[in-house]
Amino acid sequence: MREDYCLGIESSADDFGVGIISFNGEVLANVNDVYIPERGGIHPREASRHHAMIASKVISEAFRRAGIKPKEIEVVAFSQGPGLGPCLRVGATVARALSSYLNKPLVGVNHCLAHIEIGKMVSKAIDPVTLYVSGGNTIVAAFEAKRYRVFGETLDIAIGNCLDVFAREAGLKPLSNKPLGAMVEELASRGKVFVRLPYTVKGMDMSFSGLLTAAVNIMREGKYSLEDLCFSLQEVAFSMLTEVTERALAHTEKPEVLLTGGVAANKRLQTMLKIMSDEHGARFCVVPREYATDNGAMIAWTGVLCYKFGMTIPIERSFVKMRWRLDEVEVPWVRTQNM
């Protein structure tokens, strides 16, 4: 019997990724190309230019690795939002072209939802409280009545953004094999002195902008080493994340905690969440880096789920949604343990 495949395109921020996955969840290809700014953060226009330039190369490479032909694709999925408009539009344009050329249905996937779904699939979690932490998102979510409800989130900037900006202010530069977050983590591991920084949890929500400003100001005073500041920044920020995740876990009494997104790679954050999860008797799952950072496979997999429930969209209504919230999407495929 011939297998069905879905091709997924991710382009919401600095990554352009293409994944090909079978309908039963076997990842055939997951190819990624990241835009690295010469200086500063992600410039949306420059990132989108990068995506447009390398799109065809990444797609060919994905087909080569998957060992299938384009016409064997059953569904085309793309990251429809949230994200940076110009970047999202590149992925959307490519997806529309493929969909119409192959005459196959198109699925617009919510980027945050895709992080949760691929995370659940690869870590075999069934009904977790998810902490999704990246450069653009900081969300604590859990399934409740048809949707992933957002229990807590940042009130201003994302945690990944907070760490990145601090690192840039400290004069660090990202490398292709080492993002700024990894550099902060490395410096933090050598920190010893705890510097007091504002700890801001408001109910279930967090704020990182004041923490960032305070850390940058103290750094400029030059009284503490960068190692100590990275250490303290991580301790405070990750304690906030863990506190909010714990609150959501205590409230929902879910059996698992799932950590995903680019910041999930941080060992200190993993340790804190593991300790907290153990105390609640919840299984702690970390999504492996390949599937935790932005990637095409997560879009492809969520595309499969959406497709099975008829959630395709006509090309003329496939506009990108830059601020599409996770809790706006109904997820009919989710079955929790007590259902």
Partner: protein, 210 residues
């Protein structure tokens, strides 16, 4: 007897000096480094009774504080008889629900008007007593502020709590809350807070209308 093990503290129901009391003890968090953990614990244990008292001055019923132990990060306070709003909201008729939420709105209005931000407005932190008044509990995350920003966040949290646990009638409840809130704060001030709340929600990275 342990009645609730929350994320932050454990709540025990005990007899103390012949009284039925709530014993709230903050647990040390092993995931936090001890220095930071201690600081957060002491700060919150000290602060909570102070804010509970300030709420009373604002005319908002809160539990009586009997004693505080900073060393143990514990507070002994009155056990408030009644039911959590969270438990009863679903059982009420639409009219009863709206009238209850209107009362809740007035309570929040009184707090805010007197410079108190609760910091964790959820329907589990409100108890309806057999006498029909609402007692507000858990001031562990409260702060003093007259800022529109802080008030906006407080209302946003209330709205968030409603939509994540009472999604079927979150809107009608929140509208009733705003009505009661405006009654106390005055229409103009309430409007300013509400606009701030909308602004805050849009500031969260991904809101569809912006």
């Amino acid at each position: 007897m342990l009645i609730k093990k929350g994320a932050e503290a454990s709540i025990y129901l005990e007899e103390w000096c012949g009284r039925k009391v709530v014993f709230k003890r903050r647990h040390p968090k092993k995931h936090r480094m001890p220095e930071l953990d201690r600081e957060i614990q002491i700060q919150r244990t000290k602060h909570e009774p102070q804010m509970i008292h300030r709420a009373k001055e604002a005319g908002v019923p809160t539990p009586i504080i009997y004693t505080v132990d900073l060393e143990e990060a514990s507070i002994i306070m009155e056990f408030v008889e009644g039911k959590q709003i969270k438990q009863i909201l679903a059982e009420l008729s639409s009219e009863e629900r709206i009238s209850l939420c209107y009362q809740i709105g007035k309570i929040i209005g009184r707090l805010h008007k007197n410079g108190i931000i609760h910091g964790d407005l959820t329907t589990s932190n409100m108890i309806l007593t057999p006498y029909g008044n609402i007692v507000l509990i858990d001031f562990g995350l409260s702060e003093q502020s007259m800022e529109v920003e802080a008030r906006g966040v407080d209302l946003h949290l209330m709205k968030r709590a409603l939509s994540s646990t009472h999604y079927e009638y979150a809107d009608e409840c929140f509208n009733a809350i705003i009505k009661g809130y405006g009654e106390i704060m005055g229409v103009e001030a309430a409007k300013a807070v509400l606009n701030k709340m909308i602004e805050i929600e849009k500031r969260g990275r991904y809101v569809s209308e912006r």
